[in-house]
């Protein structure tokens, strides 16, 4: 499911458009010139493949719900990250224009969530370096594990992107913690399946048509001649660490009420008696920093009349405020005006058709 325009504010939409647009332009420049002739039909057809494949659902084992693949990682492996980003962007564009799946303003954000996070972050920073370290021809299990990890991280980042964009826009009143609770676990499951599916497809391709696989722009990885300094891998693992710390600390801290409530219910005490451990201390330090960031952001953005999403007390404060200058008379004018506007608009639309029909006669 992609971001819709209805939940986006112009500032957030335009910002992410700029981000994705820059990434696209850069990738367009980097798409290999010498292989351009091969790439044009390959990118087109693989885009069509992802598009068609997205329409086939699989059952997520154990949950009874279904999902579909995103394709970002698979495309990156077959085409290289830059061409893959362009292909993903094209698929999302067609979905937005033809199937109303994701808005036009939200397209920038969607390209970022689904494309950039997978093709320009998870793939180069995790998949490729890990694969290079795995040797010249890694076993299917190892390849599968690496693919799953990269897919999961890519999707978690994408899901975080959706949550961030929605929160920053402020149109939806869904509180951050609830949204995260919804998004991250679901995308964990989807990421696992996407990783498994992508790995299965790559292995299938490599075994069934090794010649086709070799002609794809990015073939099976070659073992590095000398062990390179793993800058990319470190960056990738850093991203992973941030992700884990951030998500877990959010769950642990930003939902004190929910946690307290469930703790009280289960143990009868308002708080768990914990022993201070080094891990706990460092986690809470990270959490404090992140929580500050969240609170800082939302305090800045909070407008009069909008609930402060970060803390419960904030919401109580704001609830006391009333929508300014609303009285019975004004709202009645609003209703009548609304009805009249709609009638006028529909009438105009009808007239336009009638005129054309008469002109055609």
């Amino acid at each position: 499911m992609h971001m819709a325009d209805a939940l986006l504010s112009p500032a957030v939409g335009v910002t992410f458009w700029l981000a994705s647009g820059t990434a696209l332009a850069w990738s367009a420049r980097k798409v290999r010139h010498d292989d351009r002739a091969h790439l044009v039909p390959l990118m087109g057809v693989l885009g069509a493949f992802v598009f068609a494949a997205m329409m086939i659902n699989f059952t997520i084992p154990g949950t009874g719900s279904s999902g579909h693949i995103g394709g970002g990682l698979l495309l990156s492996i077959l085409l290289g990250p830059h061409a893959a980003l362009i292909v993903i962007a094209s698929v999302l564009t067609v979905q937005a224009l033809f199937f109303a799946d994701g808005g036009i303003l939200a397209l920038g954000a969607n390209i970022f969530n689904v494309g950039v996070c997978t093709c320009l972050v998870a793939y180069p920073l995790l998949y490729r370096p890990l694969l290079a370290f795995a040797g010249a021809s890694p076993s299917p299990r190892r390849l599968g594990a690496i693919t799953v990890l990269a897919a999961v991280v890519g999707l978690q980042l994408g899901a975080l992107g959706v949550v961030t964009e929605t929160q920053l826009s402020g149109i939806s009143s869904l509180p951050l913690n609830t949204f995260l609770l919804l998004m991250q676990p679901i995308h964990l499951a989807i990421g696992l399946v996407e990783g498994v599916a992508s790995a299965a497809l790559i292995l299938f391709m490599r075994q069934a048509r090794p010649d086709l696989f070799a002609t794809s722009v990015l073939a099976s990885p070659v073992a590095p001649k000398r062990a390179p300094f793993p800058t990319r891998l470190i960056a990738g693992l850093g991203v992973l660490a941030l992700l884990v710390a951030g998500v877990f600390s959010w769950f642990a801290s930003v939902q004190p009420d929910g946690l307290q409530w469930s703790i009280t219910r289960t143990t009868g005490h308002p708080e768990l008696q914990t022993t201070e451990s080094a891990l706990h201390a460092s986690l809470s330090a990270v959490q404090k920093k992140l929580a500050l960031f969240v609170n800082y952001k939302f305090t800045l953005d909070a407008k009069p009349g909008t609930p402060d999403i970060a803390t419960r007390s904030g919401a109580d404060k704001v609830a006391k405020q009333v929508w300014p200058a609303v009285d019975a008379g004004t709202s009645l004018a609003g209703i009548i005006g609304g009805a009249a506007t709609l009638t006028l608009v529909m009438g105009l639309g009808y007239l336009l058709r009638r005129r054309k029909a008469r002109a055609a006669l």
Binding site: P41, A48, F51, I56, F98, F99, A328
Partner: protein
């Protein structure tokens, strides 16, 4: 799968609408793209609790549909199909935001319901605008317009090829899926093993097809550079169109037209 087939039919029919000569097809695609973009940005720039002031914006997609001879019922049907996501996330608003923010005929209305309604209206407006853009301009022309507006050629070429072969591949996928359905007696989502195998073969065929297309392209002299012969000419009427649209959006953004109309009808405007 029937869902694939309906999706395919829609895909094809939406584009077919654009090939007819209408008053709207005479406008440069760049103008239409820019107008739609301006529309969407204006609509989403409203505050979360705004409902009534959004309504006049419906004029843009309705007028475009009228000028482009596009069935509003078709647009409405697509809106309905696409609505679940917005409804899903917006649905929490009435539950979370329960403080009344206005009174309707004596009854207090919670802010959550107002913002929910706002979300739904925004959704209808923005999605309708996008659909009307494609139905009135045609995907090919939209790509040409985007290219001339500065998007990289690699990207617009990719869009065209994707569009060209999406139907072909979706048809293959649909046939394979149907064949599986007929031999397994179950519809809907596939178990993982079957899914992997189906997709594996589809991917294989896709790559083989890409190879053949490449051969056909080089057989006709292709060297990697797709040369277009499309010429777009920006005319006075395109500037007029764009100005009218943007001016209208700005006006409706600043003035609460609905409110004014209501006051007028109630006789309170002196």
């Amino acid at each position: 799968m029937s869902s694939i087939n309906t999706a395919l039919r829609d895909f094809d029919s939406l584009d077919a609408l654009a090939t007819r000569p209408t008053r709207l097809s005479a406008i440069d695609p760049r103008a239409k793209i820019l107008a739609t973009l301006g529309f969407i940005i204006t609509v989403v720039s409203f505050d979360r609790y705004v409902v009534a002031a959004l309504l006049p914006f419906a004029l843009f997609p309705v007028a475009m549909a009228g000028l482009g001879e596009i069935s509003l019922r078709m647009i409405a049907r697509k809106l309905l199909i696409a609505s679940p996501f917005a409804v899903m996330v917006g649905l929490f608003n009435p539950w979370l935001d329960q403080k009344p923010v206005l009174q309707l005929l004596g009854y207090p209305i919670a802010g959550g319901w107002v913002s929910f309604a706002s979300i739904l209206i925004r959704f209808c407006l923005t999605v309708a605008a996008a659909l009307v853009l494609v139905a009135s301009t045609g995907f090919h022309q939209v790509c040409v317009g985007l290219r001339r507006l500065g998007l990289p050629q690699v990207f617009t070429t990719q869009l065209l090829f994707l569009h060209r072969y999406a139907l072909v591949l979706a048809g293959e996928a649909g046939r394979m899926s149907l064949a599986r359905e007929l031999r397994s007696g179950s519809r809907g989502a596939l178990p993982l093993a079957v899914f992997g195998s189906l997709l594996g073969h589809l991917l294989l065929r896709a790559m083989e097809r890409a190879q053949r297309i490449y051969q056909a392209m080089v057989a006709r002299g292709f060297d990697g550079e797709l040369r277009s012969r499309q010429v777009l000419a920006w005319r006075g009427r395109d500037s007029l169109f764009l100005l009218v649209c943007w001016g209208g959006f700005l006006l409706a953004r600043q003035l609460d037209v609905t409110h004014l109309l209501g006051l007028l009808l109630l006789g309170h405007l002196s």
